[in-house]
Symmetry: C2
Subunit: 190 residues, 2 copies
DNA sequence: CTTCTAATTAGATGTATATCTAAATAGGAG
DNA sequence: CTCCTATTTAGATATACATCTAATTAGAAG
């Protein structure tokens, strides 16, 4: 499971981890209701109910129908059923931690090769070197342009040989250069 | 579905609505881990992990084995499987709101019969009168003893005829009397 | 007994968010 | 256009809780 699938599942739990929202789903399960009706039944103000409905709508658990300026909400069954299907299989749970060990290993590489905020050596192993390079790239702001001198200055804060690290970041596609202007590429979506 | 079943389900969602805890379950799904291992893998301090494990244990999702000072936690499959079974059936969702309409009706009875903090009349209908009586009983502290005069004073704050309301509370088993001492009975578990 | 290590408990802090009031939006009726 | 009603948006407040540090507990080894 990729990290953003975990995030989706997490968002789902967060949304359902609220008493009023569970009750709203319960009330909608027997038919549509207006915001005002829900507010009266739950003893809440309309803005509060509106807020909850917006969250449920984000997850595609409810849908709206307007009639005048009244809005009738109703349950969207498919949303719940889809999640229900394969939520708690053991493989699914196992996959929640897929990235965790890899991330722990990367943190270890970083602490092993850094000391007092400076890089001790450039790792010889490709995988470890990439971890260092990705960290270094993360020090550059996305969307900002840097001169070669700015790039070098930033690198030299952690390691004297800026030329090597700069070249490797370019090779790895972490930094991009055109006419002596450098900029960081956005990391692949997490 | 009774209200405390809703509360159990809610506790379940709340517990799972947290990224670290999902990851812990993921890590444990492949075998047991010590608190320290989990902390290192998740980049958290031991107390934080301990806190999460305690929450998971409350819901019977994990179990512990001690070995010297070290405690190895592992997943308790049955806990997850049990919940998984009938979580999102439509009847289940519908039942989340079982009490909501009844509660809304009771609130309406109260607002209908009260004005400026005083009872306008004693409702003639049995069901409505019971709502008033239960509310009145709720004004008494559980575990405290009251003299008859204290009881009357408290009732008269909302209605002049204290004798009738006092007698009816006794009849309904809301208030108990012995040798002119009164006390409130604990409401049936919510 | 003292020391070391692993974990938990206590207490403090910061962040997320449920709820509210007030203001803005928008449909329908006169 | 003005008024009324239903809802949403904005902004403020208060509560819940994830996380940390510091202190405590408890096993194991010298």
């Amino acid at each position: 499971m990729s990290d953003d699938q975990l995030q989706i599942l997490l968002a789902f739990f967060k949304t359902l981890a609220e008493e009023s929202r569970l009750k709203i789903l319960g009330l909608l399960s027997t038919g549509e209701r207006s915001v005002g009706e829900l507010a009266a039944l739950l003893d809440l103000k309309e803005p509060t109910v509106s807020h909850h409905l917006a969250k449920l709508k984000e997850l595609d658990l409810v849908e709206v129908r307007a009639e005048g300026n009244t809005r009738f909400y109703q349950l969207k069954r498919q949303g719940l059923e889809a999640v229900n299907k394969q939520l708690f299989s053991l493989e699914m749970i196992a996959s929640w931690a897929d990235d965790v060990e890899a991330e722990a290993w990367e943190r270890k590489v970083l602490t092993d090769f850094f000391e007092n905020g400076r890089l001790k050596d450039i790792p010889a192993q490709r995988k470890k070197r990439d971890v260092i390079l990705r960290w270094l790239a993360s020090q550059f702001e996305v969307g900002r342009e840097y001169t070669e001198m700015e790039v070098n200055d930033l690198i030299r804060k952690i390691y004297p040989d800026s030329a090597t690290l700069r070249r490797e970041m370019i090779e790895q596609g972490l930094l991009k250069r055109e006419r002596n202007i450098y900029w960081r590429l956005a990391p692949p979506q997490a």
